[in-house]
Amino acid sequence: MTSTVATPATKGGRQAPETSDRAKAESRLAAKLVAPALVVMLVVTAFPILRALWLSFYNYSLTAPEDKEFVGLSNYLTALTDGLFWRDIGMTVIYMVVTVGVELVIGFIFAMVMHRVIFARGVIRTSILIPYGIITVVSGFAWQFAFTYQNGFVNGWLPFIDDQFNWFGDTVPAVIAIMVSEIWKTTPFMSLLLLAGLAQVSDDMIEAAKVDGATWWQRLWKVIIPNMRAAIMVAVLFRALDAYRIFDNIFVMTNGAVNTESISFLTYRQTIEQFQLGMGSALAVLLFLSVLLVAFIIVKLFRVDLAQARGEG
């Protein structure tokens, strides 16, 4: 038996037809190759989240670890009946919807530019990868300093803004500043994914629509966008779930002040700053469940859209 654990190099159609022994050997080899990756991925995610689930039923504070006691669902009840939790969930959804929406529009325009342009491609590609690669914390600092009235340039450049306007004094302007940093940093990723989708739309089809007398706007909405729906869906799904986890920019730019806190930030604050591991774990579980819910909603929404598109075509 052991001799049939063949090296992959000898796999090929030239030899005898496939036997079940051979298939078994292939399966065994695959299991060996995949196992390390699966173990590493699950050790740091599945195990801790199960542990969080367990800890979430306890009143457990690091400042008084010996007082750890089983409290059942009371952490969840406290969180779910607290206005703070819902306010932060709402804030997070606003961050997600606005940033992904704006990125989709700007990213699409950038993708169109990159798709059409025939000069300076290397320069554009290099520049667009810099925000992608830059550390989010650095982006947060750059924009925070840009928005401060003491030494930033934003107030001076914007015509309708008073030079002494404090962007970080109130919720709405502070959230705008955070969103700008988030959008700046992640639009390149969006536009590269959309560019790949754009490259898959056949030029013949666009040309045919042109011949049939479709305007530029009609070609965009009836030909280009429906044909790159898959790329748009991947881009939106990835970015939305990423945006839902927003943390770094908030930490750097406002540290959660003036009600700019997201659900990730609340979870972090409960655990690391207040050492409430029980409560923090309950929030972690709720965060995890809410991400699942968001993913589910997005997939559902797009399925509906896909079906509609097929109905139309």
Binding site: L33, G133, I134, L287
Partner: protein, 276 residues
């Protein structure tokens, strides 16, 4: 007419991408006094230009030097290990038939979307219990878990494109299987592996959540966390000039990698998402 539109578009893309970078570079050359008193609020450093003073001050800071070292060491080790493990898994996914292939890809996708912060409390607790808190391995392990999905998706997309028949062709021509692997398959697979490594490195270099929660001293604290804790001589005022200089230093590796490998990075980013 169309041409001007395109030129405007290109200019917009370039300004969008580079303006904040230019801003942070400009800030790093302003003197700390001018920044905290707001005496030179313009975009460029005019009368507050201090040359390399901020860079010198940052470089003289022991904690910052340690953070650079930590980030480089941790990110490189995590990248290396992650890419090796991902290569094995991606080979199996692209080349072998086995049950559970879908399961592996689903797990990878689920982890790519995992809310990192929800792991903070259990990992914080666990790492303290088993002594991984504030150590290099304590960050390398989570970085590996969270870069593996990206690496596996990118690599399996690349591996699917490799003409594997060439390996047999080489063997028919008299090469040993080792020669066929080394002379034919390795050169074909190397660009994909390399691309996955770059994307993995970016992720590890960028991480903030694990960096602030699983470390407490300069023992293992990486650059993003060190930047956020950086306090200058005046604890009530963020040292903007120094921070900007530190941020520029932290960005240099990214810029170098982007300049050298832009084509590969774009290919890697899109292949995993679109073809996968």
């Amino acid at each position: 007419m169309k041409k001007t539109g395109l030129v405007v578009g290109v200019a917009a893309v370039l300004v969008w991408c580079l303006l904040p970078v230019a801003w942070i570079v400009s800030l790093s050359f302003k003197s700390q006094d001018a920044v905290s008193n707001g005496t030179d609020p313009g975009f460029l450093p005019l009368d507050s230009f201090t040359g390399w003073d901020n860079y010198q001050a940052v470089w003289d800071d022991e904690q910052f030097r340690r953070a650079i070292l930590n980030s480089l060491g941790i990110s490189l080790i995590a990248t290396l290990l992650s890419v090796i493990i991902a290569t094995l898994a991606a080979y199996a996914i692209a080349r072998l038939e086995f049950r559970g292939k879908k399961f592996v890809l689903t797990v990878a996708l689920a982890i790519a979307m995992f809310p990192v912060v929800s792991l903070v409390s259990p990992l914080f607790d666990l790492w303290r219990t088993i002594g991984l808190y504030d150590t290099w391995p304590g960050l390398i392990i989570p970085y590996m878990s969270f870069t593996l999905p990206l690496a596996i998706w990118t690599l399996s997309a690349f591996f699917r494109e490799i003409p594997w028949e060439m390996e047999q062709a080489a063997q028919v021509d008299g090469a040993t299987s080792w020669q066929a692997f080394r002379k034919v398959i390795v050169p074909l697979a190397a660009p994909g592996v390399f691309t996955a490594a770059i994307l993995t490195f970016f992720f590890a270099w960028n991480d903030f959540v694990f960096g602030i929660t699983l470390t407490s001293t300069e023992n293992a604290r990486p650059i993003p966390a060190a930047l956020s804790f950086f306090v200058g001589p005046d604890p009530f005022q963020r040292p903007a000039g120094l921070l900007a200089a530190a941020a520029v230093i932290a960005t240099i590796p990214i810029v170098v990698i982007v300049l050298l490998f832009q084509r590969k990075i774009v290919a890697g980013l899109t292949s995993g998402a679109v073809k996968g």
